[in-house]
Point group: C2
Chain length 464, copies 2
């Protein structure tokens, strides 16, 4: 292990620090897979972290992956399994030798087993649960009894606790004489006689305090308890907002039932933001580059279908002005500019609003101000582009009135776009609909319909 140091240092300090699986490494793996050379494969993977091995497996083609599973076989340990993307996990589990699978799973901590099995099909879940020792199975099943995506699913059950009246010396002696401490812990949770959590004492603080000091006098400032049924997104928010390292989880009677550490909260934060990015783009929130074509189409089709309906609505608006367009084909040429600018401005304010809602930066206190600000932005950008595009229109088509039509409708469309982009996500949030999921369709409809209607009706009035 000591010799690993140089590898790590050079790996991270090189220019390609960002790519942990280099091309060369991948080439060695692919050639070992092609030739069925187990020793070369094992040697190539030996220095890699399980998270990187998992990434490597994800990037293989389905057939190479099957080959990999057969060849790597006995080396396949639990941490690789729990790092593998859930889209790939089912293939790996179904193709892995059952004995290897059983052994791999027995290596894992109970919270990692929960994470591993919760999205599996019932049959695979059974296989894995049956591979566990009796005690571990009970622990996993008890964690699985908490709602999906709740704090209960995230927590580990092993908590280091101490009575609130203990001194530093008593705590140190307790730790030194306890053979069953968890692998990872950073705080001692102080509890009252009813097991209600009272505060956290960090191990660092414990080590630097005199034996006679009372634990309750050195508890951390940042202390939050997490109800077991709290949504994991709120857990991640609390860890990020309050810079928590670990937090005790409580049941409905306020008793400590587990502990969540920041590394798990960080994974959730990452997933939540990733999901919002995908939803805002109209891609299913759990999409992945390793999905098959059919899975991908299934994830994207609903959004495209909604968009088709929206686009047809816009076309129906345009159809009302068929005669106007027939007389001035220039209108058809310029229409996309109005729609496109409105769509872009709406996406800008919509995204700001969706994120501000997610980070709790919009509240009843400032919502009025935010909306007024967006209208101001709409007016200002509207004026800028009304003027510039109006000018372009006049020069391009040589009709002054056409410039006025473009300018007026650009102004109206940008104001409406900013207004809709901000108010629609806020309204959806009030209706308890995920604004990241649904805002896009509504906002596009409003800007398209208003944009085309404004442009063509103003044209009808001023040009005919």
């Amino acid at each position: 292990m000591l010799n690993d140091k140089d590898t790590h240092v050079s790996k991270l300090s090189s220019k390609e620090a960002s790519y942990f699986i280099g091309k060369d490494k991948m080439a060695v793996v692919l050639s070992a897979l092609a030739s069925g050379n187990r020793i070369n494969l094992t040697e190539a993977l030996e220095p890699l972290h399980p998270a990187d091995i998992a990434d490597l497996i994800e990037q293989l083609s389905t057939t190479d992956r099957a080959r990999f599973i057969r060849l790597y076989d006995n080396e396949f340990y639990g941490d690789i399994l729990s790092e593998i993307d859930e889209h790939i996990r089912e293939q790996v589990i179904s193709e892995l030798n059952p004995d290897v699978l059983a052994e791999a799973v027995r290596d894992l901590e109970s919270d990692d087993v929960v994470d591993l099995v919760e999205d599996l099909e019932e049959k695979q879940k059974e296989t894995i649960l049956n591979a566990l020792a009796e005690g571990d199975r009970v622990a996993v099943q008890s964690l699985l009894s908490y709602p999906e995506q709740s704090a209960g699913r995230l927590m580990q059950r092993e908590v280091v606790m101490a009575p609130e009246h203990w001194s530093v010396g008593m705590a140190i002696d307790f730790l030194r004489n306890n053979a069953n401490l968890p692998e990872q812990f950073y705080h001692i949770v102080l509890v009252d006689p009813r097991l209600h959590p009272v505060g956290n004492v960090s191990l660092g603080k414990l080590m630097s305090s005199k034996r006679s000091v009372l634990l309750k006098t050195i508890i951390e400032d940042a202390f939050q308890v997490i109800p077991a049924d709290q949504d994991e997104a709120d857990v991640a928010y609390a860890f990020n907002q309050y810079h928590l390292i670990s937090a005790p989880v409580i049941d409905r009677e306020n008793r400590v039932v587990g502990v969540i550490t920041i590394d798990d909260a960080m994974v959730v934060l990452d997933e939540e933001l990733e999901e919002d990015i995908l939803l805002l783009a109209g891609v299913g929130g759990d999409s992945s580059v390793s999905d098959t074509i059919l899975e991908t189409v299934r994830g994207r089709l609903p959004w495209l279908a909604v968009n088709l309906v929206t686009a047809i609505l816009a076309s129906i608006v345009i159809a009302q002005f068929e005669e106007t367009i027939a007389q001035f084909v220039a209108l058809a040429i310029l229409m996309p500019i109005i729609a496109s600018m409105g769509g872009n401005a709406a996406t800008q304010s919509l995204t700001m609003a969706v994120r501000a809602i997610a980070t709790k930066d919009i509240s009843s206190t400032n919502i009025g101000r935010v909306i007024r600000r967006e209208i101001g932005v709409g007016v200002l950008t509207g004026l800028i582009f009304a003027f510039s595009m109006g000018l372009i229109g006049v020069i391009w088509f040589g009709t002054a009135m056409l410039g006025v039509v473009i300018a007026l409708s650009m102004l109206i469309n940008l104001i409406v776009a900013n207004l809709a982009g901000t108010t629609i996500p806020v309204l959806l949030e009030k209706l308890e609909i995920d604004p990241a999921l649904a805002s896009g369709a509504f906002v596009t409809t409003v800007t398209d319909v208003v944009g085309f209607f404004a442009f063509l009706s103003i044209a009808g009035i001023l040009l005919l």
Copy 2:
């Protein structure tokens, strides 16, 4: 502090757990501000975490904020300052009583001061640095000498180190007799005689091991060292990928110069993802709902301007088909549908590609497969919408050939959209241009130009 427990518990377990500053709390604060009642204000804020007080200050209007700063004054402590959004920070610092500011800053750890001052104007930065004690100022200036957004700016300089040959007993005695341990630390960094890091020993593991055990036999599996000049985004990636809790930072000679903890890495991860969301939406990466109208316009204008150019390009394409449109106004009515579907499909695949690049899920191994997958998705969705929209077109306008025109151009446009959405971000990444920043404009241009051209030229051939 012990009595806070119930407040925390009820705060988190209530339905409004997600809103840490309730409406009622805000109402009390606003009325205290209006009446200038310092006692009510202080009382209302007393139970709040500095991060929540900072959020509250951000949500106030500029005038209420000025009032708040005057009234809260002496209570204003350093942690609130360092939690405040950088957009608001300058106002707060310039309006805060200089003595209060100096005192607030002296409370902070050196890495928090760095975070506080790095984005300030030179003059405010000077004021704050001058408020620090000599030793702290030197520490802060030395951290500021690292490049912006580098590991060096994130780290704290206080590291708990031990020689690699020490035993558990020696380490415990060292910690117990050291009066100057940092406030927060989770690992002891083992170093060789040249101060090169060799491994991390967690405090938990230390406490549960016998005195005679050698430290190097109980080092953590997950160990990464971070070069001081590494980009903070890569630091956040490493923490998330390898589930690190803390990692030593090294200089160019591989000597330990500091340590980064996961809570700081989590903040960076959050900021990076947030920035990508905003960039993908064409909003400046550091935009905030608390920006003024002018700041907002400045952030959004470049993207809107680029979009205008793109849209004009599309219009120029349409203009080439002026006569075709004049004969079939139905084309003008249906044009937006083709453009809108192409734009949506492109956004979908573009977002997937940008995220996969950021999470290192696309590599030279699977890029070919990903592109083939996207083409497949384009063909399949293209066929579905070619059929459905073709049918709608025939029914709507009663011309069979028009249906064929729509169907063919829909198919072409969706394939091109998926192809461009995937390849353009990958190409930009190769050219070392941030794909989240620049992909949108290029992809939109391609889909708009190809979409309109395909639709109108096919129409010209088949309908005339």
